[in-house]
């Protein structure tokens, strides 16, 4: 019975040029979004591969001929990066507004992390047309356009009563008619995503969860359209009402949520951290050396016996005030990190009010491009920098004789798959 109803409505849909246009548009947009995503991810991987190669050559070049531990540490750059995950093509998320690669040195770290905060400001403003945006914002619009006037257009054409009387029960007509459109839209959106996922080697669980999220969101929108379209009003009034609801749920609620979260969780910007750290480091040149070495040995008591600086210059003093620069901004960095995590948590809760925000966040989480993943990458950079310090400090602070062979054992940054 149900199969017969679906077959009937599939044949009916095949003759409905208006619906076919919106379905074709859905397929085209999905292909475009996935293609852009795959191209961007491959471009980022190529960039990383090139940088990895150049980074190694550049470091080898910088270390050649060095005769001091201090200058060797000073001139060697180290590439850190968060490679895009196998699902990042579907949701670039925070990768467009947060840095995913750095070249760090043994100098004060936080400034090196945060001086990249302002990159990609254009994408931060306009956003990217990726699959997550398509699924979260455009797919509901397409669904509205496919379903809003199923009943109203038949009423306008004075066909409604004949149709329902012929069907016997109302649901035998409207449910299969809407269901076929919903399924076709879902399949046409998902098909390019699945192909992209196959090309990228995405895990089946991620594909399954992403498909589930999309279907769930479209089901919610279907319910909304169904409730509104039951109102006995003209197609234009129904469309206006549904577009209004879409605007409210896709734009107004997320914008108000974002404003409320930001007002509730003030975050020091990266510039403040950068400035404070540079001031601390620069001021150290003019301060008595004890002013630097005292806080340094409070952090590293094991170097207390080497903390006296007798001459006007010593590499260990230089690196100590770089270290103290990081120590000075540590509370601000902690505050910045916690506030971002807190904003993210609250955004997750408020996303329950907006299917659009929920879908975007779900896709970004699956893709490892959400705020948590980017913070995890920053933490990975800090961990790597701590390894660098742990490697260099014994030679620097004890002022051991320079041995270039030791530099062969320099720590290498090893990224996790999603940057976390």
């Amino acid at each position: 019975m149900m199969l017969g109803n679906l077959t009937r409505e599939i044949r009916f849909l095949a003759r409905d040029r208006g619906a076919l246009f919106w379905l074709a548009l859905a397929l085209i947009l999905s292909v475009v979004a996935v293609s852009f995503g795959v191209a961007e991810v491959r471009d980022q991987r190529d960039t990383i591969a090139t940088l990895v190669e150049e980074d190694a050559a550049d470091r080898a070049n910088a270390l050649e001929g060095q005769e001091e531990w201090g200058s060797a540490a000073y001139y060697a750059f180290h590439l850190t990066y968060a490679p895009p995950s196998e699902f990042a093509f579907a949701a670039m998320g925070q990768r467009d507004s947060s840095p995913w690669k750095h070249r760090v040195r043994m100098l004060a770290l936080e400034g090196q992390i945060h001086e990249a905060d302002t990159k990609n400001a254009d994408f931060g403003l306009v956003g990217r047309f990726d699959f997550a945006f398509l699924a979260a914002s455009v797919a509901p619009l397409l669904l509205i356009l496919l379903l809003y006037d199923l009943r109203a257009s038949e009423r306008t054409a004075r066909r409604h009563d004949l149709l329902v009387a012929t069907a016997g029960a109302s649901w035998q007509l409207w449910f299969p008619r809407a269901f076929v459109r919903m399924i076709m839209l879902t399949l046409l959106l998902l098909l390019p995503l699945w192909i992209g996922a196959l090309m990228e080697g995405t895990a089946l669980s991620a594909i399954g969860q992403a498909s589930f999220v999309l279907v769930g969101a479209l089901l919610i929108w279907w319910l909304i359209v169904e409730l509104v379209s039951r109102i006995n009003a003209s197609p234009s009034i129904l469309l206006t009402s549904l577009i209004g609801l879409w605007l409210a749920l896709a734009i107004v609620v997320p914008a108000l949520s974002k404003a409320a979260i930001e007002a509730n969780n003030p975050v020091p910007d990266g510039g403040e951290i950068l400035l404070l750290q540079r001031e601390t480091v620069n001021d150290a040149w003019d301060l008595p050396k004890e002013a630097t070495m005292t806080p340094f040995v409070e952090e590293y008591p094991e170097w207390r016996e080497y903390a006296t600086i007798e001459g006007p210059w010593a590499w260990k003093w230089y690196y100590a005030f770089q270290q103290v620069g990081d120590q000075t901004v540590a509370p601000l960095v902690g505050q910045y990190r916690q506030a971002r995590l807190s904003r993210d948590r609250q955004a997750g809760l408020l996303a329950l009010l907006s299917p659009t925000s929920f879908v975007e966040r779900a896709f970004e989480k699956l893709a490892g491009t959400d705020a948590a993943a980017m913070i995890a990458y920053e933490d990975a950079v800090r961990d790597f920098h701590a390894e660098l310090r742990a490697f260099h400090y014994p030679m620097l602070i004890k002022e051991e004789p320079f041995d270039p062979n030791v530099l062969q054992r320099l720590p290498a940054y090893v990224p996790s798959a999603t940057g976390d």
Binding site: R8, R158, R159, D161, L162, V164, A165, T166, A167, A169
Partner: protein, 239 residues
């Protein structure tokens, strides 16, 4: 014996207006009953009540002895409904329209079956594979009548069925309806065409402001006297 169609003291409100007020009638098996009335008399509303689209304020409507609101689906499955100026799908051919609606009714028919019904309503063969948007109003109405025939239901509800048909087609339609009734189909038609109603119906009811104010039947195989009905219709209209 249970009548296929029965309205019992039926009163109905639509958008706050009292459209039907205590209307009672029955239509026997194989009978053609025509409800006559002017605009806004409540004719189409009566049909919609039998189809379960409108809930009675008072009284009830029964199809084959069962209250329509107790089992709408069962009532609708027994009825073929031909709405006024039935708008079938203009972007589909006659074949496609009939195929779609018959599948919707759960009674698909073969191409030969469709042709047989279209032959009965005299829709030209060359037109059957054309989209309905190229049809005249009469051709569309014939297609809708063919759909009603193909449903093969025991009851037909016809709303202004000859609207848009030319005189020859109207005569052919009347003959068709009579044939169906002779075959046992029960037919309730609503119209404001006094002459047509008297030509085809076994019994004519006169609706005015939602009340059934008169009933006319011929009996003994004769036709209902058009002049009598017309006089009653006109008198009541000016009264």
């Amino acid at each position: 014996m249970t009548s296929p169609l029965e309205a019992r003291s039926l009163s109905l409100n639509r958008e706050g207006n009292n459209v039907l007020d205590g209307v009672s009638f029955t239509v026997a098996e194989g009978e053609i009953f025509a409800l006559l009335g002017g605009n806004g008399a409540g004719k189409s509303t009566t049909l919609l009540a039998f189809l379960g689209f409108l809930e009675p304020l008072e009284g009830e409507v029964l199809v084959n002895g069962t209250s329509v609101h107790g089992d709408v689906a069962s009532a609708r499955s027994a009825i073929a409904y031909l709405p006024e100026a039935a708008a079938l799908y203009g972007h589909m051919t006659a074949y496609e329209n009939l195929d779609y609606f018959l599948h919707l009714a759960g009674k698909p028919a073969s191409r030969d079956g469709l042709d047989a019904a279209l032959d009965r309503v005299a829709l030209p063969e060359e037109a059957r594979s054309r989209r309905l948007q190229s049809y005249s109003k009469g051709m569309r109405q014939k297609t809708a009548i063919a759909l009603a025939l193909l449903r093969e239901t025991p009851i037909m509800l016809l709303d202004e069925p000859t609207s848009g048909l030319d005189p020859v087609a109207i005569d052919e339609f009347h003959d068709l309806v009579k044939t169906l009734a002779q075959g046992g189909q029960t037919i309730l038609m609503v119209t404001h065409d006094v002459y047509g109603a008297c030509q085809v119906a076994d019994r004519v009811g006169l609706l005015r402001h939602g009340q059934l104010v008169g009933s006319f039947s011929a009996g003994n195989g004769k036709r209902i006297d058009t002049e009598t009905v017309h006089a009653a219709f006109a008198e009541r209209e000016v009264a």
